[in-house]
């Protein structure tokens, strides 16, 4: 019997199956719904899409910038006692109203996380373009300008809400996970660097005529804001003037009901509800303030400040008979689908007049300041400030603050930041809140963040 013959077959067979078990079988191609990094940055359209992704995400659920319940508009509005949660059993908002925010407060965490997520997206986009040679140079410059503007914009709110914050400029999580908090001055340096670049490289026109895309004047308007916060009066005056002078693009609307419509001529930068990615087309502010079950209503502080002939009182404030409460009525669309009529306002011309007025006051140009404030007052249909009156600088600043409150209430936490930078928070907010402490001007660094990164310190008072 030929034994070899008998055993050859199974042995050969077993060898065959063994040798086939190789690595190439378990190699799989990336799926259609995932684009590997290199694919994204190997042509112009894809790089544009990555930028559009950032704009979309600015409006996403839970984002600091979407005007929703955990946005800067809502949380800083609560902290400044401008709005109040309709459901008073909801502790997470009550903590802001009472200026007793706990470090584990969920909206606070959501605000923080969403801001850094936007920053990550910008950093990833910048890194992706840097490593690519396939993108048209001029386009790359424009995308970089828009992206860096958004990063600066985000850091501006972080530094003003939390004080010292970590400065993440790369996508390397190993590094970012252990960052320490950087001094506010260093954050501002980066903000200015990004904004200046944006102002240099961006075109003057709005892309597709839509005021939702950042152009040169958006960058300048925001530079004006940053400089006024940094008390660089000259630069603030320069940039705000640059914007105000573009009368072909920007003008104050006499119809107050039209100010918050999409692409209104008063708008410098708006965010589109389309970024939300659902059929709902109203702004989040509209839903929060004027839907049948509003999340927030106005505190009495806001309407008390108006005279009843003020057009803003008439057009921008409503009264809910059933709930016996005032509500902000700047946005008119509470809930709709498909037809976008309003964009969420981020920057508008009225603020630029205030910025220039403030810069004028600080450089002793009292008449210039009064003229700028009067622009706003005349549009509101109220008495103008007499430019001949012997008004002191201090009085004028108080007046300016009041006017800013009347004009900019429930927009992007303006009142909260004004109270802090004019050093009025303790006097004004402390007056009707026995629990007020001077350290309440900063939100707490979220507890969950400190658990995950022990290098992060906490703000005093928490």
């Amino acid at each position: 019997m030929n034994l070899n013959k008998i055993f050859a077959r199974p042995m050969i067979f077993s060898l065959c199956i063994l040798l086939y078990a190789c690595e190439d079988f378990v190699e799989v191609d990336p799926p259609a719904h995932k684009l590997v990094n290199q694919q994204v940055f190997n042509n112009d359209e894809m790089a544009e899409s990555a930028l559009q992704g950032i704009y979309n995400e600015l409006f996403r659920i839970g984002n600091f910038s979407n005007g929703g319940a955990s946005s800067v508009t809502a949380l800083a509005g609560l902290s400044a006692h401008q709005i109040t949660a309709y459901d008073q059993s909801d502790l997470e908002y009550l903590e802001f109203e009472e200026n007793e925010i706990l470090p584990n407060n969920p909206p606070n965490l959501s605000l923080w996380n969403s801001a850094y997520k936007i920053i990550y997206q910008v950093n990833a986009l910048l890194e992706g373009m840097e490593s690519s040679t396939q993108i048209t140079a001029s386009l790359q410059e424009r995308i970089e300008g828009e992206a860096r503007f958004i990063r600066a914009f985000t850091y501006f709110y972080l530094v003003n809400l939390y004080g010292e914050v970590p400065l993440a400029l790369t996508t390397d999580y190993r590094e970012n996970a252990t960052l320490i908090r950087e001094p506010a001055a260093d954050i501002y340096d980066q903000v200015l660097l990004d904004l200046q670049l944006a102002a240099e490289v961006l075109p003057e026109e709005y892309r597709d005529g839509e005021r939702i895309y950042v152009n040169k004047y958006v960058a300048m308007a925001f530079l004006a804001r940053v400089h006024i916060y940094l008390e660089n009066w000259e630069q603030a005056e320069y940039y705000s003037t640059q914007v105000i002078n573009q009368s072909g693009i920007y003008s104050l609307l006499s119809d107050l009901d039209a100010v918050f419509l999409k692409n209104s001529t008063e708008a410098i930068w708006q965010l589109s509800p389309a970024g939300r990615g659902s059929a709902t087309s109203n702004t989040n502010e509209g839903y929060l303030f004027i839907s049948s079950f509003p999340v927030f209503t106005l505190t009495d502080n806001v309407p008390e400040n108006f005279t009843t002939n003020d057009l803003r009182y008439i057009h921008w404030i409503g009264y809910d008979e059933e709930r016996e409460a005032y509500y902000p009525f700047k946005y008119k669309d509470p809930n709709s689908s498909n037809n976008i009529t309003e964009y969420s306002m981020v920057l508008r011309l009225a603020e630029q007049y205030f910025i220039r007025a403030e810069a004028h006051v600080k450089s002793q140009n009292i008449s210039g300041a009064i003229a700028d404030i009067n622009h706003i007052r005349s549009r509101a249909g109220i008495d103008l400030i007499n430019s001949n009156s012997n008004i002191t600088e201090e009085e004028l600043i108080d007046l300016l603050m009041e006017e800013r409150q009347r004009e900019l209430f429930t927009e992007w936490g303006h009142r909260w930041f004004d109270l802090i930078r004019f050093n009025k928070a303790s006097t004004i907010l402390g007056a009707n809140n026995a629990n007020w402490e001077s350290t309440d001007v900063r939100f707490p660094i979220p507890e969950q963040e400190r658990i995950k990164n022990p290098n992060l310190g906490q703000n005093p008072g928490y």
């Binding site: 199974p10 086939y20 378990v26 799926p31 684009l35 704009y55 979309n56 996970a177």
Partner: protein
């Protein structure tokens, strides 16, 4: 990059193994040639029924000569007169005969009455017996599960197996149960699924997604199986049993075998049962009088005026209305009807089984939710006359049609609802709004008319072919294909919501389509031989598997009328689109050598080399293996005098298995489309370096049988260590994400004792009584975690504690000044946060088990199973004074010496309550003893039935979750992670009949 060299290290040893096995055979043959003075004995070995027995070992005692019967039971052996021949075969009593002049070579072997050898155990790629297994494999058979009125096959195992914890997802049919075999190994919840194998075909065990009320644990991929078509379920637990599944065996393996045709005669079985389910328990909540008394007291105590905003229950709502919301919402009965029809038959070489089943089940909630399941199965096995060729196929197909009413978690809201709240429904069944709108709040049941309809179909097919190439060599190939399709339509009509909204709302439908298919090819080569007393079983094989899954989801909006919802052509717009396809490929080599010396010493070696597409290049392959050994010491001569001890075995195993349950493509740095149109964004941080989790399992066990195995005791000790933990490593939000996939230098240990005891207490002609008990003492511990303090888990885990812990505030009692609960401010910073949560609460079971008794008396049999668990669980709902109902016990707060905090509605009191709920005060004993199943059967006398052409008939009555003894005051002590209002076990009664023709 291709990396072919990875295969080579395996090719060489396995090639050598093949040669080695070949040589053994060569040696055996040459020896037989040396004996020239012997006569050739040729004969047949049959069983009791006269059927030929292939594979019987014939050995001449005292020599190394042997032979084996062929497929017709024939054998031939050279033996001299006076030689002693031993005929042995698994499951049969060994026959020893001396060769005489008129020796009759046709032998009949008696089936072994030894119960342990009769229990054949499926170990996946091979089979063994209860007597000779070297690994830990638990088994339940059709007898115990087929009549249970359940949808989920795994739920039938509850309480029946040591070391196996099963918790139902929720009370709705189709929800995926959670199953843990010997505890939690992975830090990730989704990394703890066991491997499901159905008739040799692996099935993706991760639950399917849903937008419905099933979303909590997902949809059970096994819900389309027919419980009454299952022949057996085996659970592989230790390294010896699971290492042959390599990277997929870390969490244990569940083998489901479906029934096959048994007899040649054509037989028909009809089985029908119907019954109903109900919610078995209620929480004792406050009634209106006391509730309002407490609420009024709150404002008195606070010295504040109730307003319409914070006290609508006092100022607006009817003060006399007293609704028992639990009765209103949970008081219904869900009818169940189940029908099965089976035909079996065949001839000598071919058997078939054809089965069809239908089930319909209603709901305990208001509304017209229901669940329908239709199943069909065909199994066929065939062998050639010479038994060389064998074919076996099983095709199981199931259709689920699951209609679910309502939005998520509506049910839990009824426990907080004030007893004097306005009606939820109008008399015509629509949602009531007027009184709610008056109050300025929403009807808590808004969303009730949202419905989900889930249609799923699942095909699981398998074909196994084998051919005996040469004596002892069998080539086998296992082929399988599965195809799962489901479509869920979640409809959101306007009438589900407040009419004040409706002008702004659009009717919507959310569509979710899921598809999973997979194929597998597993060529294998088996070689079995007997060398004197040494029996060798060996196996090598390889696996090629590909799974594809696809999810498509979108929302359609803007239907003009409710009846059009779901008809996407009538929708104004589609949005929220998502389409994800994933491919998973898997490749492996596996081998096994089982050595059995005289049915006394057993050694089992298994190994596998696995490659998985879930890892980055260079990280895809890894090796796993195990060794198992057993010594049946009662076979030794020195044990013969111990008459009462009829069986004794010591068993041990050690080995490694892996876990590749982690999302696909995690190693890619990739962008996806944003929900908003036109955008792309990075969706995860990429880490190309991550690799397998390794689970090393050690086990030692003692198996004893007394009094001819009337009493059996198994004691197992195990220790499984899971290291190189593959987790979404939590990251601070500053990194842009909350986690990244990475291997963590942490070790999780599961160890424990398992006891199984069975006893035939009594056996007489008309009456018998069997008892079986299982008991598990599990322990779970995070053994090591280098620099845990600095890690992101610093405040989630504690070294030396189980994974499933809650970190709680230290409860200090009631502050005599404020009258409110107080928890310790450990670091004295005046705030209460994670730094003060220092009390470790173990949320695992301390021990658990089941006791089953089976009585038979004449034609009656009674079977019942008690399940018991010792544990602690969370229970709150003891709020005193703020809006919303609480448990009735808080009425005590109205008295002077109350253990509850003083009644108040202030935010200070609410905070105190929240902190106390997150302290040890929120935990209580949640141990329970539950009559899990009870079945009473009556077999009709066969004589009269036979006259009308029937072979048999059986009436049966079953009950599930009939009684629960517990001190826990929540709904269900099995679900204790929330406030205590969750439940997942319904009480079910059913009555049925089974007819055999």
């Amino acid at each position: 990059m291709k990396n072919n060299y990875t295969c080579c290290p395996w090719a060489v040893p396995l090639f050598l193994l093949s040669c080695f096995l070949g040589l053994i055979q060569v040696q055996a043959r040459t020896e037989t040639k040396e004996n020239r003075f012997q006569q050739l004995i040729t004969g047949t070995v049959n069983d009791q029924q006269g059927l030929p027995l292939p594979g019987v070992n014939i050995i001449i005692k005292g020599s190394r000569q042997g032979a084996m019967t062929n497929l017709e039971g024939k054998y031939s052996i050279n033996a001299a007169i006076g030689d002693t021949l031993s005929y042995s075969f698994i499951g049969y009593t060994t026959k020893i005969l001396v060769v005489t002049k008129d020796f009759n070579p046709d032998i009949q072997l008696q089936q072994n009455t030894d119960a342990l050898s009769e229990v054949v155990i499926n170990a996946g790629y091979y089979t063994t017996t209860e007597r000779e297994r070297t690994g830990n494999i638990a088994k339940v058979t059709a007898e115990e599960i087929e009549l249970q009125p359940l949808v989920s096959p795994l739920q039938t195992l509850q309480g029946r197996m040591a070391g196996v914890e099963i918790s139902p997802g929720n009370d709705l049919p189709g929800s995926a149960p959670t199953i843990r075999i010997r505890g939690q190994n992975s830090l990730r919840a989704e990394g703890n699924y066991p491997l499901y194998i159905i008739d040799g075909m692996p099935l993706n065990s991760s639950p399917l997604e849903s937008n419905s009320n099933l979303s909590f644990t997902g949809i059970d991929p096994l819900s389309t199986l027919n419980v009454s078509s299952i022949e057996s379920i085996e659970v592989l637990k230790d390294a010896d049993a699971t290492a042959i599944y390599g990277s997929r065996g870390a969490n244990g393996v569940i083998l489901i075998t479906t029934k096959q045709g048994q007899s040649e005669k054509t037989e028909v079985q009809v089985q029908v049962y119907s019954g109903f389910s109900e919610v078995p328990n209620r929480i004792d909540l406050l009634h209106t009088e006391q509730y309002l008394q407490i609420r009024r007291r709150a404002f008195e105590n606070d010295g504040t005026e109730p307003t319409q905003n914070n006290a609508y229950d006092l100022l607006v709502w009817d003060q006399d209305r007293d609704t028992d919301w639990q009765e209103e919402i949970l008081g219904g009965n869900a009818a169940i009807t189940n029908l099965n029809l089976t035909v079996t038959g065949g001839n000598q070489t071919t058997r078939y089984r054809l089965n069809g089943g239908f089930r319909e089940q209603g709901t305990v909630y208001p509304g017209d939710a229901n669940y329908q399941k239709a199943t069909g199965g065909l199994s066929l096995n065939h062998h050639s006359k010479d038994q060389k060729f064998k074919l076996q196929t099983a095709i199981n197909y199931g259709l689920d049609n699951n209609k679910i009413v309502g939005n998520r978690s509506l049910v839990s809201s009824i426990f907080n609802l004030a007893p004097n709240a306005p009606a939820i429904f109008n008399e015509d069944g629509s949602l009531h709004w007027e009184e709610w709108i008056e109050t300025g709040i929403d009807n808590p049941f808004n969303g009730y008319f949202n419905t989900s309809k889930i249609e799923a179909s699942n095909l699981i097919s398998n074909l196994s072919l084998s051919y005996e190439l040469l004596k002892g060599f069998r080539l086998k190939t296992n082929l399988g294909y599965t195809n799962y399709n489901s479509e869920e339509i979640f409809k959101i009509p306007k009438r589900s919501y407040n009419p004040l909204y409706s002008e702004f709302l659009e009717a919507q439908s959310i569509h979710l389509l899921q598809k999973r298919n997979s194929w597998i090819v597993e060529p294998q080569l088996e070689y079995t031989t007997q060398l004197d007393k040494l029996q060798i079983e060996s196996l090598i094989g390889s696996t090629f598997q590909e799974n594809q899954s696809r999810i498509t989801e979108f929302t359609a909006t803007g239907y003009v009328s409710e009846s059009l919802i779901g008809n996407i052509a009538a929708a104004e717009s589609l949005s929220n689109g998502r389409r994800q396809s994933t491919t998973y490929k898997y490749n492996a080599l596996f081998a096994r050598i089982g050595l059995n010396w005289d049915h006394k010493y057993l050694l089992n070696l298994t190994g596998r080399r696995d490659g998985s597409s879930r890892f980055g290049p260079g990280k895809r392959f890894a090796n796993f293996g195990a060794i198992g050994a057993a010594w049946i010491f009662t076979e030794e001569g020195f044990m013969d005098h111990l008459d009462f001890l009829s069986f004794g075995k010591l068993r041990a195993s050690y080995g490694s298995t892996g876990n590749d349950q982690i999302g696909d493509y995690g190693y890619l740095d990739a962008y996806e489309a944003t929900p908003g149109a036109g955008g792309l964004y990075p969706v995860a941080l990429a880490n190309p370096d991550y690799s397998w989790e390794i689970n090393k399992k050690l086990e030692a066990a003692l198996q004893l049988g007394f009094l001819n195995e009337r009493l059996n005791l198994n004691i197992s000790w195990y220790r499984n260590r899971s290291s190189n933990q593959l987790v979404g490593l939590p990251l601070p939000g500053v990194t842009g994400f909350n986690s990244v996939q990475a291997n963590l230098p942490a070790t999780v240990e599961n160890r424990g004792w398992e006891l199984e005891f069975t006893s035939l207490n009594f056996q007489k002609k008309d009456f018998s009584w069997r008892t079986s008990v299982n008991l598990t003492f599990p322990e779970n511990e995070l053994v090591s975690y280098p620099s845990l303090e600095e890690s992101p888990y610093a405040n989630t885990y504690r070294i030396g504690e189980p994974l499933n812990i809650a970190l709680l505030y230290q409860y200090e009692g009631i502050n005599p000044e404020t009258g409110f609960y107080e928890v310790a401010d450990i670091n004295g910073d005046g705030r209460f946060d994670y730094e003060d949560q220092v009390v470790v609460q173990n949320q695992n079971r301390q021990y658990y088990g089941g006791i089953q008794n089976q009585f038979t008396y004449k034609n009656f049999s009674l079977q019942f199973l008690w399940q018991f668990v010792k544990q602690e669980g969370r229970l709150t709902l003891f709020n005193t004074g703020s809006l919303g109902n609480s448990r009735a016990v808080v009425a005590e707060a109205l008295t002077d010496n109350s253990t509850y905090q003083s009644i108040s509605n202030s935010s200070e009191s609410r905070r105190a309550y929240n902190y106390a709920s997150a302290s040890s005060l929120g935990y209580t004993d949640a141990s329970f003893l539950r009559l899990k199943t009870l079945a009473l059967n009556y077999n009709l006398p066969s004589a009269p039935l036979q006259k009308i052409g029937m072979r048999g008939a059986k009436l049966f009555l079953t009950g599930q979750n009939l009684f629960t003894f517990t001190d826990y005051q929540g709904m269900d002590p099995e679900v204790t992670n929330g406030t205590g209002a969750s439940f997942s076990n319904l009480r079910t009664y059913s009555l049925g009949i089974q007819l055999n023709f």
